[in-house]
Amino acid sequence: MSARKNPMDTKLQENPEKRMFRIPDLRQGIKRIMVSEYFVLYLSILWFIVMLPVIPNIASSRNLNNIFDFIWPLLAVCVGQTLVLLIAGIDLSQISVIGMTSVIGALFMSNRIDPNVLSDSPLWGTVISENGGIMANSMWAVPVGILMMLLVGSLIGLINGYFIAKLKMPPFMVTLVTQLFVYNLAIFLTKSNNIIGIPKAFTEIGKGKIGFIPVAMIITIVLCVLSQLLLSKTVLGKWIYAVGSNVKASVVSGVPRDGVIMFVYAFSGFCAAFASVIYSGRLEMGRPTLGQTLLMDIVGATIIGGTSMFGGKGKVLWTFFGVLFFVLLTNVLNLFNLDTFTINIVKGLIILLAALFDVIRTKIQANDTKVEKAGA
């Protein structure tokens, strides 16, 4: 087999003098950067550096603190979405899982509930009362509350996964219905009211620091590392990529497709509940409407990171880069004092560009693969 000749090399051979002044192939360079898995990180750094002279305040300690404060809960929920996108799915129910688990946690942990606010709740007198939630004032309230939040989140995800895997229903439809159902159930249980009286031990997860490192950062990084290890070092991780790359081939190869799908959606619900722990801690309340405006941020940041909507391609590290860029972008738009509508329009355009970019990258990589095969 003959190797493919580079047209540029042929020209240079024809004119050896030009070899001395060979300039780097710009197209190849751009292509290499575009397909680089660190592209979004480079973009974030570039964005930060370019904006620095325009908005010096961007580098103030408080602003940097804010940026990294906003990243962690969003990153946690995006990690779950990453795995779902890896199997070419979508989870629209995450935002409602955040609200529902926020309520569930508060129902267990709250130490005082205002009867004026919640006496109309169907749970009043049985699960909650003026004295608080199920485990009010117990030393186990916080761990049990968090455990229940994570369990409920995982269970909702598992139900999504069951319908998608076993009944072969479209993920978009299943998770959309779950989103509506779970959201309205949370509203029904609380009559749309917030549950306060959350113990300080819980709020510290959202707001507290160990030394100068935020607790939210520590736990989210642990989640990310474990998730990445799951993807890169375990058989389950390989199955996830396999299902996303080519579902038929994966089934033929013996991958338990249904089990993988159910696990991924359960994990997505788990991650949403995980984020809910941080968000609820920050706001010091169980809030049924918590997370309702986050869908664009979750899907957008994950896609910007480079996780493909077509499945089979993505990493937790990329999602971190995507969230970093997304939060940085929002922060800059805020520092420009733009109104909310303009900010949302710009964010929407960036997400659209990221989705377009995903298509271009996929094409480039497919072409490269073809060239390599032809050259082999």
Partner: protein, 354 residues
């Protein structure tokens, strides 16, 4: 190699950031003490920046409140940074942190609810930025803030009390209905209490009231009111916790043949609270019996005065509750007090009334 280089760059970035995070408080405190010592000298020259964070502008009350606050601030030469949270409490918390990073001199918020007002006030207290809460008070006093709020219970009691006195003239037992606001908002709780104070004072006049939850949301209110009226067509006494729901009330009562003027057979007694232009118009036309009025312009001015006073004194955590006594505009006092209602002032500005 490239991989390690990229990770190194990322690591440097994170370390830089944490170096910043670690020193967040120290320089701020230093800056604070420095600014306090020079405050008297520089305050007169320094441009004051106030951030105005609002949950949304979905009713005429909030639109008018927004206009009153921003125009007053700008007229005083104060730079205003505006943020709309689109009814997302978490977003409003993040917006508060954002504007604190921009070193604003003060923050005025219309919070999503009383609980989020507390959470945001705590963040402002920690950062040493004065915060003023407009019209929707914190649900508890865990944090320090300037709060201006109408005495909702008293105003509601006055409006419903007038209706009760008028109802007594009919010599029959009334079937009352209250459209309840979002009970996470202390305003809604106060209005509900005011309504029940009157009901409980007149046990012979009223049957057991029907409660219609609205969540301060027009479609929710419409759906729930429709169901309630179908189940209880004998309702003849309605109090809406906010005037912005009159269009929904009309669209339910009209097909039932119950949208009648005062004095006409089948008139359903109506009262509300806020004092918007729709209520003013309906009172002029004779459909509404009374409306509780919040003095919007007084509230905006009083909050701004308190905020500017705190800034000039260098008070980082002012704590003051400013009460708007309000009043009830009724068919009986319309001649004297019609133009004291902010909704009617808006109508006058538009040339709709004289």
């Amino acid at each position: 190699m490239k991989r390690y280089l990229a990770l190194a760059v990322a690591l440097i970035m994170v370390v830089t950031i944490f170096a910043g995070c670690g020193s967040t408080k120290a320089p701020d405190k230093a800056a604070e003490s420095k600014s306090e010592t020079t405050a008297a000298k520089t305050d007169a020259k320094k441009e004051i920046t106030i951030a105005f964070l609002f949950q949304d502008l979905e009713t005429e009350f909030w639109v008018a409140g927004h206009k009153a606050i921003t125009e007053t601030l700008k007229a005083k030469g104060i730079k205003v940074i505006e943020r709309n949270a689109n009814e997302d409490a978490n977003k409003q918390l993040e917006q508060a942190k954002d504007v604190i990073a921009q070193k604003v001199d003060g923050i005025i918020i219309i919070p999503q609810d009383g609980e989020s007002a507390v959470a945001i006030s705590k963040v402002c207290n920690e950062a040493g930025v004065p915060i003023g809460v407009f019209n929707r008070p914190p649900s508890n006093k865990d944090a320090k803030s300037l709060v201006v709020v109408a005495n909702n219970e008293k105003i509601a009691e006055q409006a419903v009390g007038y209706m009760a006195e008028e109802a007594k003239k009919l010599n029959k037992k009334m079937k009352p209905l209250i459209m309840v606001g979002d009970l996470g908002d202390p305003n809604a709780v106060g209005r509900k209490k005011g309504f029940y104070n009157v009901i409980e004072k007149n046990p012979d006049l009223f049957e057991k009231p029907i409660e219609v939850p609205t969540k301060w949301d027009a479609p929710t209110a419409l759906a729930n009111l429709k169901s309630a009226m179908q189940a209880n067509p004998n309702v003849d006494f309605i109090f809406t916790s906010s005037d912005f729901l009159y269009p929904q009330i009309k669209s339910v009562l009209e097909p039932m043949g119950k949208w009648k003027k005062i004095g006409e057979p089948g008139h359903v007694m109506l009262a509300g609270l806020d004092g918007d232009s729709t209520a003013g118009r309906l009172m002029d036309e004779g459909y509404v019996d009374a409306t509780g009025v919040q003095d919007l312009y007084y509230e905006a001015q009083a909050l701004l005065d308190a905020m500017l006073d705190a800034i000039s004194k260098g008070d980082k955590t002012p704590n003051q509750w400013i009460d708007d006594p309000g009043f009830a505009l009724t068919q009986a006092n319309m001649k004297d007090r019609r133009l004291d209602m902010w909704g009617n002032k808006l109508r006058k500005d538009k040339g709709e009334i004289k």
